[in-house]
């Protein structure tokens, strides 16, 4: 493991941090709008969370407690790698507990445990532009945002309805923020979209190689796009978590043998573990009461 000698607190130099901090303040003032910023190279590859890392590096302080998740889990390799990076370069305390964290950097999930006021959720974003796959040109999509010209997205979603009888987008599902800007929620499953709405925590989004930062302040309205006759709906499973028994969390499908048998487990490892602990405790309590 490398040491961080010779680098500034949290890796970035102070001038870069100030530039990013100014961009974050603008992002917060214009919810859902993508603020261009002078993205720096980070010592991890682009697309591996450098945008989220630059935001974290600019926000984090000695008093913070950091949690990093990828796919909902604290122990996935990239989450481990990013958590180590900040433990080494900033020397901050890290945690796997959602409730105990002041900053949570995430890729692809929002924790199942509801976030609270004064927590900050930092999303890693690969492609920040929700309209990018409809219109590849930045000059055009900027105009579309300026004019709130979002008809093309409605058409795209409705084509799904015509073809499949459903909106077929299952993750990276576009939202409207504060009834003004269309925003890409990053590739979280649409299961997590409702958690963004009026969340008490501050949500910050960093796209490193696209050099964009955007934000959703606490208690801001975030609405997933839909149609009156085809309302937004989230994924559901027939199964429960094989470990904690949860019937309401997002489940990963795990193939357990060559025959392709599978089981379903919570993607949020901290949530799953805390449910197990609670179950054990209440079981113990029950036993004690009985004995």
């Amino acid at each position: 493991m490398s040491t961080a000698t010779g680098y500034n607190f949290a890796y970035l130099d102070e001038q870069s941090k100030r530039m990013i901090r100014r961009a974050i303040l603008k992002a917060v003032a214009i919810p859902g709008y993508q603020v261009p910023f002078g993205g720096r190279e980070m010592p991890l590859p682009h697309g591996w969370g450098t945008g989220g890392m630059q935001v974290t590096a600019s926000v984090i302080g000695e008093a913070d407690r950091l949690k990093v998740i990828d796919q909902g889990a604290d122990d996935t390799t990239n989450a481990v790698s990013i958590r180590r990076f900040f433990a080494t370069t900033a020397g901050v305390e890290t945690t796997e507990s959602t409730a105990a964290a002041s900053l949570i950097q995430t890729r692809h999930r929002i924790p199942e445990t509801p976030l609270q006021a004064d927590q900050i959720l930092i999303y890693q974003v690969p492609i920040p532009e929700p309209l990018r796959f409809i219109e590849p040109r930045e000059t055009e999509t900027r105009k579309m945002h300026a004019l709130s010209e979002y008809g093309a997205m409605q058409v795209k979603l409705y084509e799904d309805v015509a073809r499949f009888g459903h909106i077929a987008t299952s993750y990276d599902y576009p939202v409207m923020v504060n009834n003004r800007y269309m925003m890409d929620p990053s590739p979280i499953p649409k299961f997590d979209n409702p958690k963004m709405n009026r969340m008490p925590a501050l949500q910050l989004f960093g796209a490193g190689f696209e050099k964009r930062i955007y934000a959703v302040p606490p208690y801001t309205e975030v609405k997933s796009l839909d149609f009156d006759d085809y309302p937004f709906e989230v994924q559901r499973w027939d199964e429960n978590c094989a470990i904690c028994g949860s019937d309401h969390s997002f489940l990963d499908e795990v193939i357990i043998d060559d025959a392709g048998s599978k089981m379903f487990v919570c993607s949020d490892t901290d949530y799953c573990r805390s449910r197990q602990t609670n179950a054990t405790e209440s079981a113990t309590a029950t036993e004690e009461t009985l004995s």
Partner: protein
């Protein structure tokens, strides 16, 4: 627009942050909370000696956000206060300019505010390229004077910001119609500060509402 180059009088210089990295971060986090929870009164923990007419929260806000990449406009009395300009030039290296329209940051005393439309409101494609206005006011409280609603506010909040002219208050309230264009404001008083980003709707409350 011209860049003014006030000379740095070394006799006027005072110390900035003892620990620029940690203190800069702490003040930024206070500003981030202020901006993402509009109308919330924030008290800065750190007490610094301040240059000339600047108060504690204005001075720390500038130390944490400004550098050579930000163009700064100062209201007349601040601009003629050598202790202010010398320390800003020395600690922040920001170019001080004479036209508020090009300013990334404008700093003003409450009784010499710039006309709001003379600041940069951004463009419809780049609304972020706008001025952040920092105003030093005589009093700040949560008394029911203005009712605030919008992103960052759970239901509603109230605030009283003393010393603002009628003209400025109306201009600020009306500027909300042009969202996403606009100016984000940070009001500073002593060690306290409060932010009103352009997304916050403001309603002047009637005196009798305050009684309730």
């Amino acid at each position: 627009m011209a860049v003014l180059t006030p000379t740095v009088n070394s006799n006027a210089l005072i110390a900035g942050f003892d620990d620029p990295v940690q203190h800069g971060q702490q003040v930024f986090r206070a500003l981030l909370k202020a901006m993402s929870e509009p109308g919330t009164l924030i008290e800065l923990e750190l007490n610094l000696a301040t240059p000339g007419l600047l108060n504690n929260s204005t001075w720390q806000t500038l130390l944490s956000l400004l550098d050579a990449d930000t163009q700064l406009w100062l209201s007349p009395r601040l601009n003629s206060d050598e202790r202010v300009t010398s320390n800003l030039r020395f600690h922040c290296q920001s170019p001080i300019i004479d036209g508020s329209k090009a300013a990334d940051f404008a700093v003003a005393l409450a009784d010499e505010l710039p006309v709001l439309r003379d600041l940069n409101w951004g463009t419809s494609e780049y609304p972020d390229r706008s001025t952040t206005l920092i105003v030093q006011v005589p009093a700040l409280s949560d008394e029911p004077h203005w009712e605030l609603t919008g992103p960052g506010i759970e239901s509603r909040k109230t605030a009283r910001i003393a010393g603002l002219s009628e003209e400025f208050r109306l201009a600020l309230i009306n500027s909300r119609k042009r969202f996403p264009l606009g100016v984000d404001c940070i009001f500073c008083c002593g060690s306290k500060l409060l932010a009103l980003p352009r997304s916050t709707q403001i309603r002047e409350m009637r005196p009798e509402e305050g009684e309730a």
